[in-house]
């Protein structure tokens, strides 16, 4: 079985964000980057499937600048077999359609049986790359999965809908699956596996070899939204802040008297 996992490296969402000097995106220097949370579930699920099958190859692919290799190394430490870094210093300027076409041009002649992606990236959050990729490759596609099982050439998954309802869906291979929170609990890579990961194959391809489309969405500008008008910010010693908060609650709500 041939498995592809698409991972994106995104900033820690608890970072203090600034807008980049071109006004189009966030400033990327001084940020800590990690694997997109949803993509971690994708890697874990792919590795579990490989372990269950006994034989399978898991390829972890990521498009981004040089630092993206760290994310791929982590995927290899979790258990992926091979890394593919598509080098692109300007990946943040590509729209989701272009990202999907880059992945599709890499994957088109590789006969992947299952392609796992995250349901969305935490920074761009378009939730588009997976379904667009499936259209480009002509694969089946099931989004937002919270449960996965493979049996007799078919995947059986649960797809999360609203209101606590899940749809049980089966699909034949090849298939694109996008992973939602709660699908699994991601393991911590062990030290021996981190060491082993350093020896695994990690190839780099320049994005220009794979990209052949213009963006369909134009980015005009990025900005920081305003905080709630009239919102009170309390900071300082816990004891004093707690007193202040209690007096505000007494004044403004009917729950404390």
């Amino acid at each position: 079985m041939n498995i592809l996992v698409c991972i994106k490296q995104v900033p820690d969402m608890e970072s203090k964000f600034k807008i980049s000097s071109d006004g189009q995106w966030y400033e990327q220097s001084d940020l800590t980057f990690k694997i997109n949370e949803y993509d971690e579930y994708a890697i874990e699920e792919a590795v579990r499937l490989k372990e269950k099958l006994g034989s399978a190859e898991v390829v972890a692919l990521s498009i981004g600048p040089e630092r993206t290799k760290e994310a791929i190394r982590k995927a290899l430490a979790i258990g992926a077999d091979k890394g593919v870094h598509i080098h692109d210093d300007e990946s943040h300027k590509k729209d989701s359609f272009q990202i999907a076409t880059i992945i599709a041009s890499y994957a088109k002649d590789k006969n992947f049986d299952i392609i796992f992606l995250g349901m969305q990236s935490q920074d761009r959050a378009s939730a588009q790359v997976g379904p667009i990729l499936s259209e480009l490759l002509g694969y089946n596609c099931i989004t937002t999965i919270v449960s996965f099982e493979y049996q007799d050439g078919k995947v059986n998954v649960k797809r999360e809908l609203e209101g606590g309802i899940k749809a049980k869906v089966s699909a034949k291979l090849p298939v694109v699956l996008t992973c939602q929170l709660g699908l699994n609990t991601v393991r911590y890579p062990t030290l021996p596996n981190i060491m082993k990961a350093k020896k695994k194959e990690l190839i780099t391809i320049n994005v220009n070899e794979l990209l052949n489309e213009q963006p369909r969405v134009i980015n005009l500008k990025a900005y920081i939204p305003e905080k709630k008008k009239g919102g009170i910010i309390l900071e300082g010693k816990s004891d004093e802040v707690a007193d202040k908060l209690i007096s505000i609650l007494k004044e403004k709500t009917q729950v404390l008297r």
Partner: protein, 303 residues
């Protein structure tokens, strides 16, 4: 501008989100018409034409079938934009449709200004203004971003169903049984987020809830980690609540969480990150480590 609005038939009726699409179309001054896979006698409170593909033939959601139905309708009516709600249906179908049409898709629009759309990014900490680079575009709208508009019954136009087998089999639904707490009735809710760090620390938040005679709630990661059962979850995939007082402890304020609690009368956030997006809805934002601050607050309240 001509807009095709895609309705979702759920639990026996057209989902309320459809009327937000109507509100959006009105706001941008577009002529609109609708589409849904639903029973032919469905009631839709919309002053316009809605094409209905008979659900008794189309059965459960099948992306390829729905995509082909909409593509056929687009060919016939030539709309400029196709509008979905950003729901499990919308984010699944919209990108497939955009790919098939070779046009732009813009996800989770929260506002619009002259053909330019505002979307959140970085866990809603930032915003972007974007516009389509193609003549047509497929859009998904964030739930609750546009005010719903309803009017008298729609003019229903039956649409021929397209048969298509595509290797995807629907095997039924799984419904999580409602157990435990009904947060919708609580006057005070104190919720724990991933910021509590570990399961044992939930007790710190629970004590505060008790001191305020309120209920304990949670964000999704706390439930996914198994620290609390799903009945505690607030948000789009949990409960929607509007208590007199909502206190969010260690919750960043992702859109899906805000959607479940932003109508609360008074919102307090306790978070060590001053820029956490929950600040957008918080009446009081306490910048503090919850593990240190919450016990102090609780002890003052129980004194």
């Amino acid at each position: 501008m001509k807009a095709l609005l895609i309705g979702e038939y759920k639990n026996g009726h057209i989902d309320e989100s459809f009327y937000e699409l109507v509100g959006f179309a009105n706001k941008i001054g577009a002529d609109s018409f609708g589409f849904a896979v639903a029973p032919l006698d469905v009631n839709i409170e919309y002053a316009g034409k809605v094409y209905i593909a008979d659900i008794s033939k189309a059965k459960e959601y099948n992306p390829k079938v729905h995509k082909n139905l909409i593509l056929k309708l687009i060919e016939q009516e030539n709309p400029d934009i196709v509008v979905f709600s950003h729901s499990s249906y919308g984010w699944d179908l919209a990108p497939r449709l955009a790919a098939a049409l070779k046009v732009a898709q813009i996800s989770e629009i929260i506002d619009v200004d002259n053909d330019e759309y505002i979307v959140p990014f970085c866990n809603a900490k930032l915003r972007r203004k974007v516009k389509p680079n193609t003549q047509k575009a497929v859009l998904t709208l964030q739930a609750g971003a546009f005010s719903p508009v309803k009017s008298n019954a729609a003019q229903i136009e039956p649409l021929d169903y397209i048969e298509q087998d595509d290797n995807l089999e629907f095997q039924g639904f799984e419904i999580t049984e409602k157990t435990g707490v009904d947060l919708t009735k609580a006057e005070v809710i104190v919720s724990a987020g991933r910021g509590v760090g570990k399961k044992e620390n939930i007790e710190i938040v629970r004590s505060l809830a008790k001191a305020l005679k309120g209920e304990l709630g949670a964000s999704r990661p706390v439930v996914d980690a198994g620290w609390l059962d799903p009945s505690y979850q607030v948000g789009t995939t949990g409960q929607t609540v509007a208590p007199k007082l909502y206190i969010a402890c260690g919750i960043s304020g992702a859109i899906q969480h805000l959607a479940g609690m932003k109508k609360s009368n008074f919102i307090v956030a306790i978070n060590k990150d001053k820029d956490a997006p929950i600040a957008e809805v918080a009446d009081v934002f306490v910048v503090a480590d919850l593990l240190e601050f919450v016990p102090v607050l609780t002890s003052k309240l129980t004194k």
